[in-house]
Symmetry: C2
Subunit: 212 residues, 2 copies
Amino acid sequence: MRIAELSRRTGVPVPTIKYYLREGLLPAGELTSPNQARYDDRHVQRLRLVRVLLDIGRLPIATIRQLLAALDEPDPDVHKVLGHALPSAVGNKDSIDPDVVRRERERIDELALRRGWQVGHDAPARQAAAEVLAAFEQVGADVSTLLEQYADAAETIADYDLQFVGRAGNPEGMLYAAVVGSILGDSLLAALRRMAQEHESAKKFGIRGDDC
Amino acid sequence: MRIAELSRRTGVPVPTIKYYLREGLLPAGELTSPNQARYDDRHVQRLRLVRVLLDIGRLPIATIRQLLAALDEPDPDVHKVLGHALPSAVGNKDSIDPDVVRRERERIDELALRRGWQVGHDAPARQAAAEVLAAFEQVGADVSTLLEQYADAAETIADYDLQFVGRAGNPEGMLYAAVVGSILGDSLLAALRRMAQEHESAKKFGIRGDDC
DNA sequence: AAAAATGGATAGCGGTGCTGTCTGCTATTG
DNA sequence: CAATAGCAGACAGCACCGCTATCCATTTTT
């Protein structure tokens, strides 16, 4: 298939596809002539993945490039791959007092130790969590109870996630599932949480939902 | 306090504070002269909230403005306030086939009905969830099992969230807690989930973490 | 032979979150 | 009382990001 059909089958405009090619988000097609290339289903799939990571996962182009490069490496390393994605999921942190972050970082480390979590000391998620805790503190919220509850929930969810990954069978599929599940999972969880919050709120405060 | 001290106490540059004033993210200071204004602790607090919603919550300025405006209204309506925040949490959806979204929307509606969730039919979270499901489908992932598991987790988490909100006491504080808890909660949960994923992955695949 | 499409290169665009500069005034300092 | 520094408000400009538009030489289709 040529670029027009690739565009038609994915809904991505031709100039955008060319841009992704330039940015290395999409491997070049097989050249049949100096200025003619052929694309296949793998390009369709990859293109869809890029759009989903962009639009739903809200990852920046540069992060997606790293993620895809790691996905394409012969010897898949799930931890490394997902390490790329998380830092960009938590934005600028220069609004937060570094001292507070350091204190909260210790709290996270203590939590991980106490719960026996086998997590690398340099895992980006540790720092990310500390930064969010610091943000809570900046706005004057006490999260001590919530943190432990969320940690419980995170354990449960991570178990589900690993089941999801395990269902994929082959290693490449598992890596793919880990990426998709982690990035899109955040969004899915957020949406379901909002729905459940509305329900719980209606239950607790006796406000009848609009319907249903 | 004048603008320089406000800047010093929050770490936000003076021109940026002026920008937030222009954008209506920060109420004007009390004018003591035609060109002199005084700010107080409420401005400090508000400014910190803005930065946190921007940097951690990654909400666009326009959304933050709506959110704050709703926060400042005399008669607080939690549902309405959080309705503002969610749409922006899921980005562009034009990469997803609308037909698929419609099908997934039915699935979400069925799920909500089956679980007895009292959620408005027009709640943005329903649509957001449907879009994420459609995204999963676009990349060829089967989420049927995961969806139910996540829904379970969402119920649990929403319960924690409502406890968190309830701890605030007065209505204004509860609204504030709902906003902060919802927006920052997403990020905290994501970070803890990543940590727990790494732990579960190490457990399941026997890969020893770097340490700990 | 004519028209349409292609790969590749380059320049520009629209939105967002600031940042820099200016003006006319006010507060502080020596 | 002058000199200096700081202020509010207005406005233009900037950096980055994710595209989009244009052009060219070549190839494919009609």
